[in-house]
Homo-oligomer: 156 residues x 2
DNA sequence: TCAAGATCGTTAGGTCACCTAATGATGCGA
DNA sequence: TCGCATCATTAGGTGACCTAACGATCTTGA
């Protein structure tokens, strides 16, 4: 992945065949940006989903696994393995929630916060490559639209 | 998947934790729309990637597998299996390209075109659910932005 | 002309994230 | 207290992707 621009020169029939297929565009752009992010994150030994979890924990210290799963739309089984790995690597830890002993309260460690900081810088780079050709105004507009699609506009 | 609205009520910390992470938003919206489409397509025995290939073939009759792969960003190995299945089901067929006998020329059958037609109606339904809450003007804007991101704006 | 290298389709083996169904521990309402 | 819901976990399966290899074929250049 040495390309500056993440979507270089796709062949022609695209624009005709898929000009109206928003689901397809979303799916492909999503997969593409995810892959790009994964490549940039590789030196940190992190994957995009893992960064999302670290970020969620930074914002919601002590979240339960259930909260993370439904907040980030990630798989519950995947999260179990992810937290196992985080604990092995000292990035986060599971504590027991005293008021509900079924649930865990997941906390970042100092190292986890450090890694998150590094990952977020790379996230900016992804956005730069992904939206590079777009003027700032379009970028803001796109961002607003994406958030409204996920129904997340209630709180900005 | 009985929900009318594809992105119902996500938990709270989202908007704060990910308000700026465009790559994450794209990736999740993309996966989500893909999943919704897959569910709607299930009765036809088709998956989203398969519809994309059928659609590509409808627009570029006799395309080679290489063209499909690079045109749709799908995996070459996956396409091999997909075309095997299409031929079994009588939706498409591989012919030999006489001017380059390494390459195949893939053609839709009449049945393939029929199935594509049915699938495209469902595609409209996906867009309706995905972008339902958005005013038409925003929908158009979003569409334009997505296409410009993929560098597909040269021909609309 | 023909040998070297590129390209097309194909196969095999691996990864990642998702899905479903089942389980034990725990909480909670009737 | 009994029954049911919920939380974390495990196991097995799927789809789409990746890389590396392979024969067949095309292309290029010595």
């Amino acid at each position: 992945m040495s390309e500056e621009w993440a979507f270089a020169a796709p062949p022609k029939p695209w624009s005709e065949a898929f000009s109206d297929d928003v689901a397809f565009l979303f799916s492909k752009i999503g997969a593409r940006s995810n892959k790009l992010y994964a490549e940039l994150l590789a030196p940190l030994g992190l994957r995009p989903n893992q960064v999302a979890v670290l970020q969620y924990l930074a914002a919601s210290e002590g979240a339960s696994q259930r909260e993370i799963v439904s907040g980030l739309w990630i798989d519950a089984g995947s999260l179990v393995a992810m937290l196992d790995e985080f604990e092995d690597r000292g990035l986060a830890e599971r504590r027991r929630n005293p008021s509900d002993r079924r649930a865990s309260a997941v906390h970042l460690t100092v190292d986890g916060r450090d890694q998150l900081g590094r990952a977020l810088e790379l996230s900016k780079e992804v956005e730069r490559r992904l939206l590079g050709p777009l003027p700032a105004a379009d970028r803001r507009r796109l961002h607003t639209l994406l958030k409204s699609i996920t129904g997340l506009n209630g709180r900005g």
